[in-house]
Amino acid sequence: MTLPRIISRPLFFLLPLVIALALTTLCILALGADPLQVAQTLWEGAFKDPAKLAGVLNFWIPLTLASIGLIITFTAGLWNIGVEGQMMAGAIAASWSALYLPIPQPEIRVAASVICGALGGAGWALLVGLLKTRFGVNEIFGGVALNAIINTLAIYLISGPWQPPEGGSAQFTPPFPAEAWLPVMSPDFQVPLFMLILTVIAAVGVIFALRGTRFGLELRAAGKSPRSALLLGVPVTRAALLALILCGALAGLAGSQRVLHTYHSLRPLVSGGIGFYALLIALLANFRALPVPLLTFALAAIVAGSTRVSVLLGIDQSLIGVFQGILVLVILMTAGLRQSRPDAGKV
């Protein structure tokens, strides 16, 4: 098979997409729904009017923050499954600040909450790092356990200590005072400009930091071969911890956006699965930072649109995970097919 590369490369990208779409369609048909109607409702749910587009951006912000953070840890060779918990830790810290730090000026109050969120996420990620570097617990297992622990802690805080004395809902904390909310661009376009700018800066910063700085080089060396990196004098442990802290801080920012803007309160499972979406995004991007913002935008549109699908057509949102999972799996498989061809390695 000798197709010119200009044809074969897009083909290898499109083929998985087509297969994933076909299999997802089968799943929809299995439940007796109309796939075309699902697609149309999805599109309307994402782009029908500015409010819908704002919804897409509000999902794009935390998804991109978490994904770009994961690119850092993947570059360092770490499977940071704990990103979901790091978002929750950020959300808890930001909520604590929003609820209990009585700062009069709204700007400082919001900024303090966001900073708390980043610190919370970074701290929780550092725990994964210390478990790995000091105690030899693989980051996958440390991450899974810490995810469950922080989620339980959140449920405890929500149902107990953070309830108002007069009693409230066990499902969420009392709403934060309006001064603690992230200010939005306009009433019709409720996107927090501050977080949008922060996300763009973070994405651009990570793209360049991984490419052109000594830090990026050290991370890549540590990720490719920790032993040789160590022998060459790269501080491998420090690189791993730093990568985790940065990823955790970004995930914490993502968690802050969820509580300080999306919900205006802390609730269980505040992340809405963003951490797991982000892990698949990192795989889709083949661990490179550059494609991340576009991929996250596509996924954010699908997720935002799917709310409408689930409301109107009664189709569960787990369909997105199914589609994304099939897509990544098929991409891995076609990548394998490509490599096992005779001219492998000449890509």
């Binding site: 478990l131 356990a145 810490l146 149902s159 369909l319 995970g321 999972g325 990548a335 097919l337």
Partner: protein, 326 residues
């Protein structure tokens, strides 16, 4: 003996059973050199498939068969993608665990909270169940429990007392050496990954047709797959230690729910849900090299060697690697 204590021991054995079956599957797989990280998703999807097949056919046996088939297929997909298509086992397993979990939630919707879930009935074993205490604790259960017990001895016997079992361990430790002695490394890895996956599928059925009958959109066994993976590490890939780990965890849970019910102890019940995860972290810290060495050094010299073998957890040397020989 106290009646409520007997009940508690009985329920510990019942609750540990799916974990025992799943971990046995994973022990076989990992001993052959393949990491099947898809356990959590596999268990969910096969549990759902088990409920679906059982309720459509009206037969629990067909449900168990379908669940085993599902688990086996997922594992073979992992084996194919990592062996033939040479992709990273961790990546593939991770994608599969997410995908299967979401598939289970999505496709399982028509089977959410069915009114009369099909359940595998309790079958006390005639003579053995009459033995005081032991009969009550071990021999008054559903067949999954007896299966798990037989399975443990079967896996141990196969691994340590048979020739093919020696080959199985060899392809996980030194695939090149095994290959030069005539073992078809990758073919065997397919086989053991498939068998291990089928056992994981049976574990799923042991939840959904056994102790946690039925299917719900937020399944109660979610997370147990990760715990099972951790138990395998904690147990040093040895069948008997694995059983100990699974029972230890089930006992912890029983104690936690006991605390929850007792009026004198004042711990918020939600926080008790952290216990299995803290236990998981604690045991992983314990078995990782450094800590064991420090603990062993504190012991009298003549116990040190024994303690080291007992506590140490060394993974199969070639775990997660690829073998390109055949």
């Amino acid at each position: 003996m106290n009646e409520s204590l007997l009940n508690m021991l009985n329920s510990i054995v019942a609750n540990a059973t799916p974990l025992v079956i799943a971990t046995m599957g994973e022990v076989i797989t990992e001993r052959a050199g393949v990491i099947n990280l898809s356990l959590n998703g596999s268990i969910l999807l096969s549990a759902m498939v088990g409920v679906a097949a059982a309720s459509l056919s009206g037969s629990a046996i067909i449900g168990i068969g379908a669940a085993a088939l599902m688990g086996g297929l997922i594992a073979l997909l992992l084996a194919f993608t990592s062996i033939r298509l040479r992709q990273d086992q961790v990546a593939v397993g991770f994608v599969l665990t997410l995908l299967c979990g979401d598939l289970a939630r999505f496709l399982g919707k028509p089977f959410n909270n069915l009114p009369n879930p099909i359940i595998v009935p309790n079958m006390p074993i005639p003579v053995l169940s009459e033995i005081p205490v032991i009969g009550r604790v071990f021999f008054q259960h559903d067949p999954f429990v007896y299966f798990s017990g037989l399975l443990v001895f079967a896996v141990w016997w196969w691994l340590y007392r048979t020739r093919p079992g020696l080959t199985l361990r060899a392809i996980g430790e030194r695939p090149e050496a095994a290959f030069s002695r005539g073992a078809r490394v990758n073919r065997l890895r397919y086989m053991y990954t498939g068998i291990g996956g089928a056992l994981v599928g049976v574990a799923g059925a042991a939840y959904s047709l056994g102790i946690k009958a039925g299917w719900a959109s937020s399944p109660t066994m979610d997370g147990d797959g990760w715990i099972a993976l951790a138990i395998v590490i904690f147990a040093g890939w040895h069948p008997f230690r694995v059983v100990f780990g699974a029972y230890l965890l089930a006992a912890m849970r029983a104690v936690a729910s006991g605390i929850q019910q007792s009026p004198d102890i004042n711990i918020p019940p939600v926080l008790l849900n952290m216990l299995p995860w803290l236990l998981m972290l604690g045991t992983l810290i314990l078995v990782s090299g450094g800590v064991v060495e420090r603990v062993v050094k504190l012991m009298p010299t003549r116990f040190q060697d024994g303690a080291r073998t007992l506590l140490r957890s060394t993974p199969p040397a070639a775990i997660g690697t690829r073998f390109d020989g055949d």
